[in-house]
């Protein structure tokens, strides 16, 4: 029975993960290395890569602040509406990214709620950089908070209380006590958040307008190339994103390892074995 299950699992992984991975790289290099290099250094591709990095550079820090703040107030304080806030944090996961994109168009688009006001003040959100950043930030907002809430719940408030009694202020308590205790969980959340920010397609596709060299991100660029039957080029750009995913995976594994080690410390700190004579 055990072997059957293992075989099924491995076969599933091979067909859904490993094979596509191999395919991406074999297709990318199908016309030789020079075509590959050209595809990823072509101005439109470079501009898409730059835009993708820029979006991640904004969305990830914003979500770090939001995630830590949300997790902090949910786990360290009691207030009315706490459960509602926890549910709201999950909303971007529950809603299809395309719908999220549509919502932003409905709010900030030319015919949207704030459309005319934005037009009057000459602010462009939809089909421009601010829209892409907004949509990406929204989609990736749960990652950090989701990662930190259970961790901080488990750690409790004892250490923070101890710090305050010893005379520490709020910021001192956060930077000297809370942050060191959550750093691995935070990093893990940030890695996932970053991966999604760079890879997000649905919501970004709706708000971006696919303007080459301006509002095209890497995932959108892959799609455009593919639709133009430039398969080798399309897969070449896709392989860059795939490499990014592999790096993310490696980092994630490393962080998980550190996290387990500090969780081990936590368990040790909570139990009080009399291993040594007191």
């Amino acid at each position: 029975m055990r072997w059957v299950l293992i075989t099924v699992a491995l076969a599933f992984l091979a067909f859904t993960l490993l094979l596509p991975l191999v395919l991406v790289f074999s297709q990318a290099f199908s016309k030789g290395f020079s075509v590959y290099w050209q595809a990823i250094t072509e101005p439109d591709a470079l501009s898409a890569a730059k835009l993708t990095l820029l979006i991640a550079a904004v969305a990830v820090p914003v979500n770090m602040v939001f995630g830590v703040a949300a997790a902090w107030c949910i786990t360290k304080f009691d207030f009315p509406g706490k459960n509602l806030l926890i549910t709201l944090i999950d909303l971007p996961f529950a809603v299809s990214p395309v719908i999220s994109g549509m919502i932003f168009v409905l709010l900030y688009g030319a015919h949207g709620w704030f459309g005319s006001w934005l037009m009057e003040h000459d602010i462009k959100i939809i089909f421009a950089l601010p829209g892409i950043i907004l949509a990406t930030t929204f989609i990736t907002s749960p990652f950090v908070a989701r990662e930190l809430i259970p961790l901080m719940q488990e750690q409790g408030t004892d250490e923070e209380e101890a710090a305050i009694v010893l005379g520490a202020g709020g910021w001192q308590t956060f930077f000297r006590v809370t942050l060191p205790n959550i750093k691995w969980g935070l990093l893990y959340g940030l890695i996932l958040c970053n991966a999604r920010a760079m890879g997000e397609f649905g919501a970004v596709s709706v708000v971006s307008g696919h303007i080459r060299g301006q509002t095209n991100t890497l995932p959108l660029h892959v799609e455009i190339l593919y639709n133009e039957y430039a398969f080798a080029a399309s897969f070449a750009v896709a392989s860059v994103l795939t490499l990014l995913a592999l790096v993310t995976l490696a980092l994630k594994t490393l962080v998980e390892w550190y996290q387990r080690r500090s969780a081990h410390d936590l368990a040790e700190a909570k139990s009080t074995p009399e291993r040594m004579a007191a």
Partner: protein, 354 residues
């Protein structure tokens, strides 16, 4: 520094954690808050520390109103039940924390910090473990690090929440003696919470017994043990036998027998309970007066200096416990199933609320 608590009230939803609690802790004393779980003792301690706001009432530190003073300005040392050591810091850094977070103007120099911390670690006999992480220490060692950390900021008041609760019996006893000695050395006003009566009676200068959010009695260990003010205190401190009967003009009638209760001379026919400590009974082979109760020996535990007997009262069938000196037990030559007469030598009668 003295602590005065006046008419404190605290509720959590419908649960009344503290109900009009008043308390005096004279400066320099070591006071135990003793009570079963849910009696409000930890809540009281947390309110004194400022970790929890009170619904009503005032707290005075050294005669000054400190009710709304923020935690960090109260100058209290708090030792948490599970120690709450900073797990990512070394023992040294844990103890140094309170000094390092001070505003730059009043922060001691690195040398002074080192001197203070090592001095304290010496006091708690942990100087050799200064570089260890809390996870590498035993429970007793963690407890002492927590104490050293609390003392590092030179608190005016030291508060300890179940300081020995998570430790095993042997370590507990050692630390108890050690805390007593430490208190004699540092002499800071200290309040500790415990549910262990032996711990409270042995360590403290004064015991405050709490039950269901109220203070039942407060006094020296001798006072509360020898003269319990309420039935609860009687039952909570030490082993006690209960005899249910009727109070009538200075006597309590329990079945055929009659116990003296002179303080109830003016009461006629009221339900009452006589409390008798397990060692306040005399056993004899014959009835020695109206206060003798006939019983059958059910069980004998004959190790140690005191022999413990379980006795079934013939009248009413209740089981009581009697502790008598070994010599007396041997002269009586009692065996299981034999008949014996029980005479209480010290009785305290409380009327039963109707």
């Amino acid at each position: 520094m003295s602590i005065e608590v006046r008419n404190l009230r605290k509720t959590f939803g419908d649960f009344v954690a503290l109900d009009n609690v008043s308390l005096d802790v004279p400066g320099g004393e070591l006071v135990a808050l003793l009570g079963p779980s849910g009696s409000g003792k930890t809540t009281l301690l947390r309110i004194i520390a400022g970790l929890e706001p009170a619904d009503q009432g005032t707290i005075l530190f050294h005669g000054e109103n400190a009710t709304d003073r923020p935690v960090r300005e109260r100058q209290v040392g708090f030792v948490f039940q599970h120690y709450a050591l900073f797990r990512h810091m070394s023992v040294f850094e844990n103890v140094a924390f309170g000094l390092r977070v001070r505003p730059r103007k009043v922060r001691p120099s690195e040398g002074e910090i080192r001197e203070t911390v090592m001095g304290l670690l010496g006091l708690v006999q942990l100087d050799v473990l200064a570089d260890r992480r809390p996870s590498e220490l035993s429970g007793g060692q963690r407890q002492r690090v927590a104490l050293a950390r609390a003392l590092a900021v030179k608190p005016k008041v030291l508060l300890l929440d179940e300081p020995f609760g998570a430790l095993d019996a042997k370590v507990r006893k050692e630390l108890r003696r050690w805390l007593r000695r430490l208190h004699e050395e540092v002499h800071v006003t200290s309040v500790f919470v415990t549910h262990d009566q032996e711990e409270a009676l042995e360590v403290s200068d004064r015991v405050v017994i709490m039950n269901e959010g109220k203070v039942e009695q407060s006094g020296t260990p001798e006072e509360v043990y020898d003269r319990p003010a309420t039935p609860f205190v009687y039952g909570f401190l030490g082993d006690v036998n209960l005899f249910h009967g009727r109070i009538h003009q200075g006597h309590v009638n329990i079945g055929e027998s009659e116990l003296e209760a002179p303080e109830w001379a003016h009461v006629s026919d009221q339900a009452g309970v006589a409390y008798v400590r397990t060692y306040d009974v005399e056993l004899a082979p014959f009835a020695s007066g109206p206060s003798s109760l006939e019983a059958v020996v059910r069980h004998i535990r004959a190790f140690g200096p005191m022999v413990r007997l379980e006795l079934d009262l013939v009248d009413g069938g209740r089981t009581i416990e009697a502790h008598i000196p070994r010599a007396r037990f041997e002269s009586l030559a009692l065996g299981r199933g034999e008949r014996v007469f029980v005479s209480p030598t010290s009785v305290r009668v409380f009327a039963q609320p109707t």
